[in-house]
């Protein structure tokens, strides 16, 4: 069963990664930034799995599974921070967080 080349997958992965980074750079809500980081990680995962297919050994897939777990950990901590901040009535906008200035 022949589908598209690996390069198609990689191009898709790159676009995903770029979309995610744009989200991180341009959005100000920490929640959406976290979601965008997830998209970046997914892009990397897609690349890993596509390359695993190319080389025919599963190292890339194992890596991708580990990345999922790590992503989940980051999300836990990130969401924990966001909830704590909202309880303390801090702005949920990274541009308006200006307590820390010189």
């Amino acid at each position: 069963m022949h589908g598209p080349d690996i390069s198609w997958y990689i191009a898709l992965a790159v676009i995903l990664f770029a979309t995610g980074s744009l989200g991180v750079l341009l959005r100000r809500s920490p929640l959406i930034i976290l979601l965008s980081v997830e998209i970046m990680l997914n892009g990397a995962n897609l690349a890993l799995i596509a390359f695993a297919r190319r080389f025919g050994h599963e190292d890339g897939q194992v890596f991708a599974v580990a990345v999922m777990a790590i992503a989940a950990s980051e999300v836990v901590v990130g969401l924990g921070l966001i909830v704590a901040m909202s309880r303390r009535n801090l702005e949920l906008d990274v541009d308006k967080l200006r307590t820390l200035r010189g």
Partner: protein, 488 residues
């Protein structure tokens, strides 16, 4: 039938010691009654770092020939052992500094557990030998540090620091990850030495991947232009955490940068030496210039750490054995200086109950002669003055650059150092030469709590930063042994 790989427990011992300490601490956070929790937790955490230190020394002694272990997932060599050793040393001082912090007792167990876990993550990270363990190690200690940044909820800005660090850190590790994926795509390998064996110099996938790996690691060593989280995180985090971050994280990130570049990408050396030199120059320029205008001492020290990341990237850019030695040597006084400086900021902070600025340091050195003299030592050390190891470190870094043939890097370093004189000496000036009357400040009020632990930590830092100036040869011997593990 599954054949488990042989596990070299001894090679893992620094990590395991800290991991065990973290586990015990988590249990203690639940089981030990509150009044005893603070002291016992600090003790266990300190013991964990001390054990890791001892194990790292033994490991360095017993691993003259580096090799990969546990199914090629990590290296057992002196490079990693010496780095773990420095990290463990930083941890010991960090525990001493943390002890007097007015934590809410609710969290003190978790705090020390996370500190130990961050140390364990770093000890693992520095011995990573493939892209997967590299990423996992990075995330291990990073996540611990994100939480540590945000752990003190009496501190204004602590949560903000944690969030900013997390967001930027996550982008950094995603970059590293994508770079790793591209390198994997270019070579079909995850192990560093196999990547080196499979790589072609002009494979575009490999080159782009390499660039992203360098950027991802530069986020962690807070080198410009990937440093934007540094001032906020350093300023907002509890000061003992800042002390640990500024020293140990830098050790881990820089040591691993050198290892990855030298081990996995020897064929691309022409590319990455230039890239690293560029990052070094940017860090020196941005760090020093930005530090000039800071009034908050923690923030100023954060920018100073950016500039020092630049100085320590110079030996990496040099890509020679002298550079590897220079990096290891430089890290030792740098860690002592950085830990010590933040420890003194912590002391002043506890005394004032407010963030430390250049203004409220006025007269500090005459009120607390020992802390004042120690802080002056650290500032002169950062500046690279003789009688501290900071001088020899810079000298070695410049020597490595020259041996690579890049005398202009020396010029950049010299120019940066000249600029840095203004703000480092600004601290000395604030402490010694300004009168609090002149600035119309209220006196600090009452004597500060006697904090023997903090004093001991500062004394240790002074001893290391001055001692490393005199005992260069033994330290260089250690660095030499470590540097031999890298294929330079």
């Amino acid at each position: 039938m599954i054949h488990k790989p042989h596990v070299d427990w001894f090679a893992l011992s620094p990590t395991l010691a800290l991991l065990a300490a973290a586990g015990v601490l988590l249990l203690m956070a639940v089981l030990v009654p509150r009044p005893w929790r603070k002291a016992s937790s600090a003790l266990v955490c300190g013991a964990g770092f001390a054990a890791a230190f001892v194990f790292a020394v033994l490991l360095a002694d017993k691993s003259p020939h580096g090799h990969a272990i546990v199914a090629d997932a990590m290296f057992r060599d002196r490079w990693a052992a010496v780095a773990s050793l420095i990290v463990a040393g930083c941890g010991i001082v960090a525990v001493l500094v943390s002890y007097g912090e007015r934590w809410r007792e609710l969290h003190v167990g978790e705090y020390y557990a996370l500190l130990a876990s961050a140390g364990a993550g770093m000890a693992f990270f520095v011995s990573a030998s493939n892209l997967m363990t590299l990423f996992l190690g990075l995330e291990w200690f990073s996540i611990s540090l994100y939480i540590l940044c945000a752990i003190d909820y009496d501190l204004v800005g602590s949560l903000e620091a944690g969030l900013k660090y997390l967001v930027v850190g996550a982008v950094g590790s995603a970059t590293l990850l994508f770079g790793s994926a591209l390198v994997y795509g270019g070579t079909g390998q995850l192990d560093f030495d196999k990547i080196a064996a499979a790589g072609h110099t002009h494979d575009p996938l490999l080159v782009v991947g390499l660039a992203m790996v360098i950027a991802g690691l530069a986020f962690k060593s807070s080198a410009a232009p990937f440093h934007m989280w540094t001032p906020d995180a350093y300023q907002g985090a509890p000061t003992p955490v800042t002390a640990f971050m500024s020293s140990a994280t830098k050790v881990a990130a820089l040591v691993v940068t050198y290892r990855v570049l030298a081990t996995a990408f020897p064929h691309e050396a022409r590319l990455w030496t230039w890239a690293v030199a560029g990052i070094a120059i940017a860090s020196i320029a941005i760090g020093n210039v930005a530090a000039l205008t800071q009034r908050n001492v923690k923030r100023m020290l954060a920018y100073s750490s950016v500039s020092h990341a630049g100085f320590m990237l110079i030996p990496i850019a040099a890509a020679n054995a002298l550079g590897a030695r220079a990096l290891v040597y430089y890290l030792i006084p740098y860690c002592a200086l950085s830990l010590g400086a933040f420890a003194i900021v912590a002391a002043r902070e506890r005394e004032l109950g407010a963030p430390v600025t250049l203004d409220n340091l006025a007269g500090f050195a005459w009120e607390r002669p020992f802390y004042g003299a120690a802080m002056a030592t650290f500032m002169f050390g950062f500046l690279g003055f003789p009688l501290t190891g900071g001088f020899v470190g810079k000298f070695y870094a410049f020597a490595a650059a020259y041996r690579h043939g890049w005398w202009w890097l020396i010029v950049v370093g010299v120019a940066g150092t000249i600029v840095s004189a203004a703000y480092y000496l600004g601290v000395v000036r604030a402490m010694y030469m300004r009168d609090r009357m002149e600035l119309q400040l209220a006196p600090a009020g009452g004597s500060p709590p006697r904090d023997l632990m903090l004093g001991a930590g500062v004394a240790l830092c002074v001893a290391v930063s001055v001692g490393s100036f005199f005992a260069v040869q033994p330290l260089i011997d250690v660095a030499h042994a470590a540097a031999k593990s890298l294929p330079l």
